[in-house]
């Protein structure tokens, strides 16, 4: 039996020898295949990283009603005008962190991001953005403050003093000094859990003239915030700021004007707001470095400079047109709520992008600490 076994093994070996002799190529090929297996992940990739098809353009905003609005106002007309192009709106929220992660890992899937002019300077200086191609985008359709080397102004929005007329029983707060006055205007207030528009309001309440706000004296602003901290609820999302007024948890707030408009529409004239001493920000388009869409992205941005489309956006979600030409196209009944109209423009403080680009990170950390301590 053991002999049989021996013979069988020899036979196998003989067969094996016959098969491999003169067929070394196969073996080498096999080794190559093994080596390839080792690098399968990078060589083959489980899925394509960037865009499946050329002509796709991903525009990322902050979700909600802005997704269908951007789609109908900008993406659809752009697709209709450019054959083979498929621009789509994605509401994932283009945070600085995600842009940085994308750019640094070389897997950029976004073409256009909906951020602000200050953010464009901040991120641009860190090498995370493409420089604006001003040969495609029109410089003269923007005021100088609404553009930067990396950002193209998209629309205007403001932080405004909003109050509940019923809860305050007729007392009308007109300035940030009134907002800070808890004796004559008792009740809870709400401020944002972020420095934008809040530090400016605090300084105005402390007597700083609107044209002397920048550079912001952060210590002074934080001291002022601390004064009303115990009377204040801090909001994070726009929805939350609205909910606070709906539930009558607060009597006053420093809100995005778009939210104040929605509230006024929803609950009637109980909720009022003023552009006086408002803090005016410019939303901006920016393009992450190494984006797959290239010039198509700038083309899209240029198409969004059309003043009529910007007026459409005002009608739908309340964002003010940034192109000065749009002012003439705004219907009379909307002029009051257009934060970019010449009258409202004059009442507000325009944000200094340079200051934000340099100090945003430090000031935000200090603000968070001040309200948490």
């Amino acid at each position: 039996m053991s002999q049989e076994h021996q013979e069988f093994r020899d036979d196998c070996l003989a067969i094996l020898r016959r098969q491999t002799e003169g067929k070394r190529v196969h073996r080498r090929r096999f080794l190559q295949a093994i080596a390839a297996l080792g690098i399968v992940p990078t060589a083959v990739r489980f899925t394509p990283v960037a865009h499946a098809a050329a002509g796709e353009l991903v525009i990322v905003n902050w979700g909600g009603d802005a997704v269908p609005a951007y789609d109908e106002i900008w993406a659809k007309p752009f697709n209709a005008a450019n054959a083979g192009v498929k621009a789509m709106i994605n509401g994932a929220g283009p945070t600085s962190g995600k842009i940085k992660a994308m750019v640094e890992s070389g897997a950029v899937t976004w073409d256009v991001c909906d951020r602000t002019v200050p953010a464009s300077v901040e991120l641009g200086r860190q090498g995370l953005l493409e420089k604006v191609n001003w040969s495609i985008v029109a410089k003269d359709k923007l005021r100088p403050a609404h553009r930067s080397d990396w950002g193209v102004g998209a629309y205007l929005y403001a932080f405004v003093l909003t109050h509940d007329r019923q809860a305050l029983r007729g007392a009308v707060p007109k300035t940030w000094a009134d907002f800070w006055n808890v004796k004559d205007f008792p009740g809870k207030r709400t401020l944002r859990n972020n420095i934008e528009g809040m530090l400016e309001a605090a300084l105005m309440a402390d007597g700083v003239a609107p044209d002397k706000i920048y550079p912001i004296n952060v210590d002074r602003a934080l001291d002022k915030i601390k004064q009303i901290k115990q009377h204040t609820i801090f909001w994070t999302t726009g929805a939350e700021s609205q909910q606070l007024f709906r539930n009558k948890e607060v009597v006053m707030g420093n809100l995005w004007h778009t939210r104040s408009m929605l509230l006024a529409k929803e609950v009637g004239d109980r909720i009022q707001f003023t552009f006086d001493q408002g803090v005016l920000f410019a939303g901006a388009w920016l393009v992450p470095k190494g984006n797959p869409g290239k010039d198509l992205a700038w083309k899209f941005i240029a198409s969004a400079q059309d003043p009529r489309s910007q007026v459409e956006l005002l009608k739908r979600v309340g964002n003010g047109p940034i192109n000065p030409e749009a002012a003439a196209l705004v219907p009379a009944e909307l002029k009051v709520n257009d934060c970019g109209s010449p009258e409202n423009f004059a009442k507000q403080v325009a944000v200094d992008s340079e200051w934000y680009a340099e100090h945003y990170a430090t000031a935000l950390n200090r603000y968070m600490d001040a309200i948490a301590s």
């Binding site: 945070t95 600085s96 962190g97 995600k98 901290k229 801090f234 945003y360 990170a361 935000l364 950390n365």
Partner: protein, 286 residues
Amino acid sequence: MSAAAVASSGTPRGERLYWALLVLPCVFLGLFYVVPVINVLVMSVTVPRLGLSNYADLVANPAVRRVLWTTVRIGVLTTAITLLLGYIVAYALVHTSARQRQTLLAIVVASFWISVLIRAFAWVAILQSAGLVNSALMGLGLIDSPLQLVRNEVGVMIGMVHYMLPYAILPLYANMSGIDRSLVPAARALGATPAQAFRWVFLPMSLPGLIGAGIIVLIFSLGFYITPAILGGGKTIMVAEYISVQISETLRWGLAAMLATTLLASVLLLVFWLSRFMDVEAALRK
């Protein structure tokens, strides 16, 4: 001697199976988890420049210290409350009729299904000044002005305890149902009072489950993000939210990586210490 001697007498073939069981998940985690995460944690000493400058913040930056202290305080309190309530529920689960057990378990599992986001908002609706709790208390004439139950640490802890309870109850229940049901009556028969029987027999047997649940709850509590962000109203900042702001908003990834490394290191030390402690327990029982 016994345990070690018996273990070494196991056949190699049987051992091999268990070694494979042990090693396979580790290889999986090593490849897909450890490599990517280490890659990020290393940034704590390389970003923005090589060195320990990020770790200096632990000492020098009062804001960072405050965030860490808040996190530890809330984490420990939440764990203590959750374990106490969870232990009571798990104990009732194994010492009740099948019908009551099914209902209780259904409640525990059902509460699981509500997304953490909507739960947080439901708590706001319940706890806010015009919310259910305050209206009920004021309606009963127990209080004159609304209690501040939310947008502070109280609210954060209510939300966190609520979220963590099933995480404590289910492992405790799994552990307790493995305890021999005749042991406590046996101890009673030998003359122990109910309290003594519980302390000497049931509690030691349930200790591994308690420690296991405690580890899950504490670790989770230290890393909570959405609940404190919504129920804390900006005034209660825990480390995960702080890290998130550093990553998403201020782009201080070095600081974020340092805090994450610190969190990871302290929890590992804690678990290591607890697992030694558990060993002692196991040795005492044998």
